[in-house]
């Protein structure tokens, strides 16, 4: 997760701005946040895990939900949960984001308790995963078995009305590619802003997601279909993520 750590050097966020001292702590696995000396307030972001195949042929899954919340007077320690594929991520009981549903028509996960919450893209069509939700809005739906672009982000459009992105081989992604036609392991983009994490769109067939983009599977699970990290749905859903700023 070296790219994850790199964003600590670039705490510039066009929507949310720099928080507190600009320091961030990232959780790619469940653990405990211990409040640093002198810190009383934090801002937490959660991405739920992307939904997976669910044992239903070559189906993808829905994208994970997203939530962001400022916590005034945070407790000394907070249990952090990072969801596996389809699982919920959470910063204690303050704020959570659920994982995407599995299989075709798998619904996107939702954010709960945040100052802003958004919904992951649904797996609209067989073989296609939904994109993760982000601070920019809902994730794009996964669709495109016959070359039809994925549905754009659903109703709620975030701050600037920019949706999570439609998906057809990467179209609609705001930062990096939402998905790419490549067989093999998914690639993690070199993030340089927390706000751009998880902004990949929905996917089409045979693509691995990137940066939260959905992954679209083909006939075999070894040929594509990985949801982009974090929270992209796909034949294999991507895990979630929690970031704490203070």
């Amino acid at each position: 997760m070296s790219n994850l750590q790199a964003i600590q050097n670039f705490p510039v966020n066009p929507i949310s701005g720099t928080y507190g001292s600009g320091k961030v702590q990232l959780f790619s696995a469940s653990g405990t946040f211990t409040r640093p000396t002198g810190v009383t307030n934090v801002r937490a972001r959660c991405w739920g895990g992307g939904g997976g195949n669910g044992g239903t042929g070559t189906s993808g899954g829905g994208g994970g939900g997203f939530a962001i919340k400022e916590i005034i007077g945070v407790t000394a320690t907070v249990t952090v949960t990072v969801g596996a594929a389809g699982g919920s991520s959470s910063f204690g009981s303050y704020v959570s984001a659920t994982g995407g549903g599995s299989g075709t028509a798998g619904a996107g996960g939702v954010g709960s308790g945040g100052d802003y919450n958004s919904t992951g893209g649904a797996s609209v069509q067989a073989n296609c995963g939904g994109g993760a939700a982000s601070i920019w809005g809902n994730g794009g739906g996964g669709r495109g078995a016959s070359g039809v672009p994925g549905a754009s982000g659903m109703a709620a459009l975030a701050v600037d009305g920019i949706p999570g992105g439609a998906g057809l081989y990467g179209a609609g992604s705001f930062y990096g590619n939402s998905s790419f036609l490549n067989i093999g392991s998914p690639v993690q983009p070199a993030w340089n802003s927390i706000d751009f994490i998880g902004t990949g769109g929905g996917s089409s067939v045979g693509a691995n997601g990137q940066n939260g983009g959905g992954g679209g599977s083909v006939a075999s699970p070894t040929a594509g279909g990985y949801g982009g990290y974090p929270g992209g749905g796909g034949f294999v859903g991507a895990p979630g993520l929690v970031i704490v700023e203070y």
Binding site: G55, A84, S93, S96, G101, S102, G113, T222
Partner: protein, 119 residues
């Protein structure tokens, strides 16, 4: 025992601690079913019992069981029948056995390899 979120008779997610302590209340409410410690995400939940999903064989399982020469044929789709089989995967045991017999019949793999893949 652990608490799980059940959707359509499948375990969507299992809480690693008390749900009310680690999730927002709107989310914690979904983790309302106690399941055995052996349960994992994706297991079926039928009449209060965990049902493990049937094993499936995918293309990687096929390839891993092959000899080097067979892998070369498999990777290059040396005969049309290989593509046909790849398109069918993954499958459960009975159908996997049929596909392996098919590959033996067209001389893509040996009977010994077929038995090794099926285990």
């Amino acid at each position: 025992m652990k608490y799980a979120w059940i959707v359509n008779n499948y375990i969507k997610d299992i809480a690693w601690k008390n749900p009310s302590e680690i999730y927002h209340p709107d989310v914690a409410q979904f983790y309302d079913t106690q399941v055995p410690d052996t349960a994992v995400n994706g297991d079926a939940w039928v009449n209060g019992e965990v049902v493990k999903p049937a094993k499936q064989w995918g293309a990687t399982d096929f390839r891993n069981g092959m000899t080097l020469a067979e892998k070369t044929k498999w990777d290059s789709d040396a005969v049309p029948e290989i593509k046909t089989v790849k398109a069918e995967l993954p499958k459960e045991r009975a159908e996997t056995s049929e596909l392996l017999d098919f590959l033996v019949s067209v001389n893509v793999i040996s009977q010994k390899t077929a038995e090794k893949i099926l285990g």
